[in-house]
């Protein structure tokens, strides 16, 4: 045991790492607090990190390396000829929508207090969300180039 005095400000041991001993009556681990809110909080962080990768690359390709002047039907035909880009896009779609919809759910929980309205709002959110995931996934996965109509 050290006898030197410790300055209190800078050497706090990490509490999370050290406190697994007397957490319960029996000294074992606490019963799981794994619940939806913990999962939602953790999901934001994981999907957020992944989205940094996917979304920034997407923006780089669409807005910096190319731009709206160049992007047209043919651009998409070429891009989605590769299964790699289809996979990339569907990952981006699902991650972005779930991350965003979870955020919208949090906003509803924060600001809509009446139980009836909250249930209605969250239900609408889920329905709209599923609809858009399906719409988005459908076109990414099943798109086949059509024969181009003759130039007018």
């Amino acid at each position: 045991m050290s006898t030197e005095t410790k300055t209190t400000q800078h050497t706090h041991p990490d509490p999370v790492a050290r406190t697994t001993r007397r957490w319960t009556r029996s000294g074992g681990r606490p019963r799981p607090t794994g619940n939806f809110e913990l999962f939602s909080w953790y999901f934001f962080r994981i999907s957020g990190i992944l989205l940094l990768f996917f979304a920034l690359i997407h923006l780089l390709i669409m807005h910096l390396l190319n731009n709206v002047d160049v992007i047209d039907y043919n651009f998409i035909v070429q891009r989605w000829a590769s299964p790699l880009w289809r996979t990339f896009d569907i990952m981006l779609l699902v991650l972005a929508l779930t991350h965003g919809l979870n955020g919208a759910r949090v906003l509803i929980y924060d600001y809509v207090h009446s139980r009836g309205w909250r249930t209605f709002a969250v239900t609408t959110l889920y329905v709209v969300g599923i609809l858009f995931i399906v719409l988005g996934a459908q076109v990414i996965l099943t798109f086949q180039p059509q024969i181009q109509s003759v130039a007018k």
Partner: protein, 238 residues
């Protein structure tokens, strides 16, 4: 050097007023006077109806937390010169947000204390203490929760927290800090109970890491850090 200080205070008397309104006073004050001294001067010499809480008047009882120039502070710790009163700037004083106003600067602290009690702010230990001595705790173990022992329950943190304002039942940063004090106390065995309360919808996951609480705390408790430590503890121990 005493100067004329202009003070704008939000007044509300439930028996007379329909809604809160500002009233302005001019007070002679020294730059080193505290805001509490200014309030006293107004109450004793100008308007005896001004109502506010105060007790120790030196920053340890937590009675006089209020919004001074828009931020939650203890009136007995803020000096006139800190808020520019000596330079001719107006000082604006209002009750804290997130609490029902009872009268003038006095707010209803009951829900705040209910939330505090809900996280079981007392030592929980299911074994008897050793017969010969106290429950031993090393200096290192004591260090872990040292910061969160300092809470004086003034309410400045909770009153500065947007999720707390949005309500309705978020326990608030003060309750979480006091839960932290026991959860990470090596002599305590009630962590599981407190964590399960804090893991619910109105517990730690309402925190949006806004950081107003840490800025507002008159005891310099790192509130946000305490909340993050609890969240990590839940994640790693699920």
């Amino acid at each position: 050097m005493a100067t004329q200080v202009t003070v704008k205070i939000l007044r509300y008397d439930p028996e007379k007023d329909k809604k809160a309104h500002f009233e302005t006073y001019t007070v002679e004050a020294d730059p080193l006077d505290r805001i509490l001294d200014v309030l006293n001067s107004i109450k004793w010499y100008q308007d005896g109806s001004l109502t506010y809480r105060r007790s120790c008047a030196h920053g340890v009882c937590g009675s006089d937390a209020m919004r001074i120039n828009g931020r939650n502070r203890l009136a007995c710790k803020v000096l006139v010169r800190d808020v520019g009163g000596d330079a001719g700037k107006k000082i604006q004083i209002e009750p804290m947000l997130g609490f029902r106003i009872l009268r003038d600067l006095v707010v209803d602290m009951d829900p705040f204390f209910e939330k505090y009690k809900s996280i079981k702010p007392y030592l929980i230990n299911y074994e008897d203490a050793p017969a010969s001595s106290e429950r031993y705790q090393s200096a290192e173990d004591r260090e872990i929760f040292d910061e969160t022992t300092k809470c004086i329950l003034c309410g400045a943190c909770s009153g500065s927290c947007p999720p707390y304002w949005a309500g309705p039942d978020f326990v608030g940063p003060a309750a979480i800090v006091n839960a932290h004090r026991f959860i990470f106390d090596s002599r305590d065995q009630g962590a599981a109970e407190r964590l399960s309360i804090l893991g619910e919808g109105e517990g730690v996951f309402r925190c949006r890491t806004v950081y107003n609480c840490t800025d507002a705390c008159p005891r310099n408790i790192p509130v946000t850090k305490a909340i993050e430590q609890i969240r990590r503890a839940m994640l790693y121990n699920r």
